[in-house]
């Protein structure tokens, strides 16, 4: 391995090393403060090493991985999100005391899987990354060992297993058709139209990935898992695991889908169904985590609009929207996190009544996150939505663009509903509420700052995204 390859792989190597080191160290010293600090340091270091890797990019490291601007952008996103989740988790798990080593090891591993996905250009690394990610995630989902948490973990396990089966079978079919496991061969095939064998293969891969993305009709597990999993893990599942799969799908087939072809039509139908189903089903939820789950289904539907559009402009839209979505959804789950104490999440809508008066700062942050999810100006979500619609309009995908506009109108209702609950008078008998841990507030404030910055002055971020996206399909 040449030095430049090594430096390009540095982010992944650091995470992997940190996971192993933590596993080894946990036998001797497993104070929560140390473990969490170590994990956050590892994420910060991995993030910083992206800047070391950047000069080497783009570079293919073996036939499995490629480290280019796009991969590095997503790695940065993944590590930043993982850092925020770790910070939130530290407060959530009760601060300095207690033993939560496994939690952080799993978090490191899942971030590692996600990072591998971001850089993968081969079915083997695709599968490997995805498995590392999902195996750690169902451990995390069931971490609290509450009945609901167990249900969430089990559901995630079964569905992850099923989706992997689809995925592997799809890969096998594509391999049978092309004789190659590399993405370049598969996407070349998709551009040409391919035979029925490879089409079936790609369809199965899309279905397998669809489970991870939780788009309709593969979304059934989402609300239960989000509800049962600890709030910070919910944030992680909603953001990092989806973002990584989007990244790998972009590399595999983004931009090469022939408009009007069967896969394109299928994905377009999935997008429309996700937007409407997600937004409509969210209307009837009384549980904040479930609302966020359905909202995330709708958001992935929006994202598919830009995914289906062609060109590096659309790739930039996907990347920017994901970043905006990461910030908003982690922020929204973060609010649930900081209000919850060990094991019992504060997630019923009623318990948020009057929150904005009792805790103005957290109320304001939550409002901002919801407005961003709804796509209102001054927030990152607005610029993201603008970018998405622009990408769709540039490719003249009118049905998708209009579905996006109309379904997001439905979406306003449930976001506003939560905001109204936040601002309505506090109930007479206040529910017992935990003290907000400073780590949690720090994470929320940081997310809030990023949210507003991206919404008010998105220029630097857009340049970053544009540079990352331009190199994707060279």
């Amino acid at each position: 391995m040449s030095p430049s390859e090594l430096s390009a792989l540095l982010p992944i190597l650091i995470t992997a090393a940190a996971a192993s080191a933590l596993t080894a160290a946990a036998g001797f010293y497993s104070k929560h403060g140390f473990v969490a600090g170590f994990t956050m340091a590892a994420f910060a270091l991995s993030f910083a090493s992206i800047f070391i890797a950047a000069p080497a990019a783009p570079i293919a490291v073996s036939s499995l991985l490629v480290v280019d601007g796009f991969a590095l952008f997503f790695m940065g996103l993944i590590y930043a999100a993982a850092f925020a989740v770790a910070l939130l988790s530290y407060g959530y798990n009760g601060g300095a005391g207690g033993k939560h080593t496994e939690y952080y090891i799993l978090l490191l591993l899942s971030a590692l899987g996600a990072a591998v996905l971001a850089g993968s250009r081969h079915f083997a690394s695709f599968f490997l990354g995805l498995e590392i990610l999902s195996v750690s995630l169902f451990g995390l989902a069931a971490y609290m060992r509450s009945p609901k948490g167990n249900e969430a973990g089990l559901k995630y396990l079964v569905l992850a297993g099923a989706s992997s089966a689809f995925l592997v079978f799809g890969m096998a079919l594509v391999y049978a058709a092309t004789g190659s496991m590399e993405f370049s061969a598969a996407s070349a095939l998709a551009t040409r139209g391919g035979g029925p064998l490879s089409l079936a293969g790609m369809a199965l891969i899309v279905a397998g990935a669809g489970f991870k993305l939780a788009v309709v009709p593969f979304h059934g597990w989402t609300p239960d898992v989000y509800e049962g999993a600890p709030a910070p893990v919910g944030a992680f599942i909603a953001s990092v695991s989806k973002g990584a799969v989007v990244a790998v799908l972009m590399r595999l087939m983004g931009g090469s889908l022939a408009s009007g072809g069967p896969l394109f039509t299928f994905l377009a139908a999935v997008a429309v169904a996700s937007m409407f189903a997600g937004n409509l089903l969210a209307l009837f939820q009384e549980n904040v985590k479930r609302v966020l789950a359905y909202s995330s289904i709708a958001h992935l539907g929006y994202l598919l609009v830009a995914f289906l559009a062609s060109g590096s402009f659309a790739a930039g839209a996907v990347a920017f929207y994901l970043a905006a979505y990461f910030v908003s959804i982690i922020g929204a789950f973060g609010v649930v996190t900081v209000l919850s104490v060990n094991g019992s999440d504060v997630d019923s809508l009623e318990s948020y009544r009057g929150l904005a008066w009792r805790r103005p700062l957290i109320g304001a942050v939550f409002t901002a996150m919801l407005l961003s999810l709804a796509g209102i100006p001054l927030t990152a979500g607005f610029v993201g939505k603008f970018y998405l619609v622009a990408a769709g309009a540039a490719s003249s995908m009118w049905i998708l663009v209009l579905s996006l506009a109309l379904s997001s109108v439905i979406g306003f209702y449930y976001y506003l509903r939560i905001i109204l609950v936040l601002f309505s008078p506090s109930p007479r008998e206040l529910p017992a509420e935990a003290e907000v841990h400073p780590a949690g507030s720090a994470a929320l404030m940081a997310l809030f700052a990023v949210l507003v910055f991206m919404g008010v002055y998105p220029g630097p971020f857009l340049s970053l995204v544009g540079a990352a996206a331009s190199g994707l399909w060279q």
Partner: protein, 513 residues
Amino acid sequence: MILIWIVFIPVIGGLLARLSGGLGRSAPAWVSLGTLTIAFSLTAGLFAGAGESAEGRWLAEVKLPWISQLGVSFHLAMDGLSLALVALTFFLGACAVVSSWTEVRERSGLFQLNLMLTIAGITGAFLAMDLFLFYFFWELMLIPMFILIALWGHENRRYASIKFFIFTQAGSLLMLVAILVLFFIHGRATGEYTFSYEALLSTPMGYTAEFLLMLAFFAAFAVKLPVFPFHTWLPEAHTEAPTAGSVILAGLLLKTGGYGLIRFVVPLFPEASFDFAPYAFALAVIGIIYGAVLAFGQRDIKRLVAYTSVSHMGFVLLGVYAWNELALQGVLVQMVCHGVSTGALFMIAGALQERLHTRDISEMGGLWTGAPKMGAAALVFALASLGLPGLGNFIGEFLVFLGVFTVSPEAAILAAAGLVLSAIYSLWIIQRVFHGPQKTGITDFGRREMAAFVPMIAVIVWLGLFPQPLLDLFGQTLRTLNVTASVPVEAGSGVEKLDAGSAVYRISLTARE
């Protein structure tokens, strides 16, 4: 630079008002009032200087790079139209602050913050000359308005606020799509990807595209204005909002719809608008008559005033689509005067509710005895609203009629019939509320309230007797909008659509001779 201050002073003032919440209950209101006074005097300064710098297109302009990757710039510019509406915004904003002085008892700091943010959003929308920026402000004003209704509104506020938000958003999102489509059409045709209003004005595009885009823009502004089938959010929102909210809604938010039609719909899509004009006339006439008829049926005084807005905004729509000098001058006068008179009527309704704890007209009566000052103010604005000569609204409506008559006599005649109805409901309010046997005691307006009403009456009378300064202000804008003098339509000779830049309803000049 001054335009940036004009937009941001309310934001700063709002934040200060929020912070001053701890200093006493009326401290935030004082802060807001002071801020709006500063902003208004800045605007008045621009007005005073307007004569000198009138050669250029804009009275003031500022353009800064913002999101260059997407071709977005922070471009604010002010011409006569914007100036008049911005001045109205600060004036009515100050009146709204005064009207809510005692009504808002809880969290007045937050209330003032939201009020000021709404005003900042509206001001921004009136000044933005970049379509992205315009959309940004257009959306921005909704959230604080939503919060104003949802938190400080009356009984049915939840429903009203969400309905208001979703209706306006549905229209706006269609406009967002249209803005982006326009952006790409322009970019592909000219190679310049920009949201700049001036650049987009001369976008070459096919007729079908133009018509569809026009419809999408129209949808957004029609919801705000409101145009007849899209008006159902308005009675709810106006009725449930706190007084200051109603004043801002009726006085200013509706005007953003009219402004959008003048600034964007017709200039950007002249051909399509020309063909759409008959339908717009029909909707306007239906709105004028429908709003007036429904106004009778109301027992709730705020609802009544709300429906009169539907009726009066019909004149704005009518005038915009007539698109000649007279009609557009009428539209501007009508917008300003309607803002003031309806704002005042909502303030009176709010004062009645604060004193009597009801909005039901049947429980009122004979209030003149107890409250002569309030009665007199109500009489002035009821007369203004029915279009009494000598008051501003008359000038507006009259000019609109004159302008419309040359284009479509039928529409002008039918709309004038609506004016008769407005006379009935206006006098009806006065008769039922202030005349007749006294049903209940009431305290009259105090000094604080009179301080708001006297300037409002002065504005209405001023515009009724001497509207020329406002018309002059608008003259400059009219030239840049490529409006021609209104001339009688003669088949085959008068109205012709020519291809000349962004010229709008090109009435060939030969017809004048």
